[in-house]
Amino acid sequence: MSSQHLALLTAKGISKRFGGVHALADVGFTINHGEIYGLIGPNGAGKTSLFNVLTGIYSPDGGEFIFDGQPLNGLKPNEVAERGIARTFQNIRLFANLSALENVMIGRHVRTHGNVFGAILRDKKTQAEEKGIEKRAHELLDYVGVAKRANTLAKHLAYGDQRRLEIARALATEPKLLALDEPAAGMNATETTSLKGLLADIRRDGTTILLIEHDMKLVMSVCDRVLVLDYGKKIAEGSAAEVQKDPAVIAAYLGGEVLLNLKGAA
């Protein structure tokens, strides 16, 4: 009963095919409230496919997600965001020709209500809402550490700042679950360390995190539990330490033949 209460996202038997390729085959897992849940696996294992199915960009061929007690079946990406799942992208997808501030302000869209008439008439309510949007956007820029770059176009930000801005934009939608697709990719060691701090802050402030990451040091140090995918199948799940020792995981990362050879030697 208590695990039912703790679960924020449950995936049951998620499958996705692209032609003959099983990108995801019967993947199931549970993410609890307040967790940082890692998703790892070799390139092409299906991590990003899982993100895309979860956020409504693709619809799954089988299985379902239960998020916060409600099924996510058939929802469009914007409806998934409205339910409280925000994501970042592996290949950064900021609004390149808009300022950092505007990028975050756009993230507020789903939690605000101003309509055309409000925009044209600029009544008190709309003005107050606009002020709120701008204030919150500044706070979030400050939170992720790019406040000084508020008026810079997103495309002119340094790479690490772009990654942080994408997180700020996602946080602006007030997600219950923040899904990050390789946030540390392309970051140097210092940047990764401060990203680790940011992830800890986000979790402390009440947002659950689903993290795809290749940087094993980061995964092992921040994730409470880790799910390992290989060829679209779940091959292991558990704490970082457990997963690291799992022979199937080692085989997936080092290659199946290595494992066979080891067996042969034994």
């Binding site: 756009i106 993230g107 869209h109 605000t112 008026n151 996602a170």
Partner: protein, 356 residues
Amino acid sequence: MHQFFDRKKYPRGAWVGIALIAIALVVLPFALTAVGTAWVRITNLAILFVLLSLGLNIVVGFAGLLDLGYIAFYAVGAYTYALLASPHFDLHLPFWIILPIGAAVACLFGVLLGAPTLKLRGDYLAIVTLGFGEIIRIFLNNLSQPVNLTNGPQGITLIDPFRIGAFNFAKRETIFGLDFTGPVKYYYFMVLLVIVIIVINLRLQNSRIGRAWEAIREDEIAARAMGINTRNMKLLAFAMGASFGGISGGIFSATQGFISPESFVLVESIMVLSMVVLGGMGNVYGVVLGAILLSFVPEILRYTVEPVQKALFGRMLIEPEVIRMLLFGLALVLMMLYRPAGILPSALRKRELEAK
């Protein structure tokens, strides 16, 4: 020019700038009448193009949806006005009722066009909208039977001018010793309308809705992932742009007194799009400037090409019509080479320079 409009930074400069522009706009028709009455008509047509460009700018500039059939909404507005205020059906509704109806009908057509094209972008969307524009024109051309709805290629004549009680926009009158011709009255009405629509555009751009449009323009997938209902927002952009087109069409009907499908050909759509692109897509002031330039320059050339050639060579070497299009094409090519973002690029880039 920028400091004149920045009311926060330069409050005094802003008011002086606004006052100067207001005075210029009030005096302009009388100055133009002194040069020639034709110029007031040319100015009115230029203002109509400003209205059209501002409407198209919502679709193309804000939301990034390339629309090559925009003139169809202008046609819908024009025919709505013509049918409701002419002897054709013997209906003579007042203009303040028809203009909103025209806007609403055009808006409906905007949604009708928008709905099936929601998943298209760029080239594909351009082709479909182009087709839509042609379909509307061909319908107007052929809807004279079995029921004579549009009077076909002959068009609709004797369209009512604007009237408020006894005040007729088409009649010449003298008020306070000043000579108000029909075009001068329309001029004032249209200038007021343009100002209202500029304000609407600026406010829309700088709002939750405008930001959603910009997000769609920049990256539709990211916009959806951020919770923006891209379907509704695109339809809204089409509907808003179309209704501005519809209003412009109604005014066109009333000022011309005669319309036919020939006024709504593809070249007109391309012209309006050129105005938006040349002026600076997404920048309201740029779009206004683009529309004014592209409306006036060909007219100025029409009146200067002949005398200049006679003075230089003693005779006409190239027909005015030919040289006009030649220079027009050259201007567009040069613009795209040296200022690809338009004469006045959108405000964002300016802001970025200030931040550095």
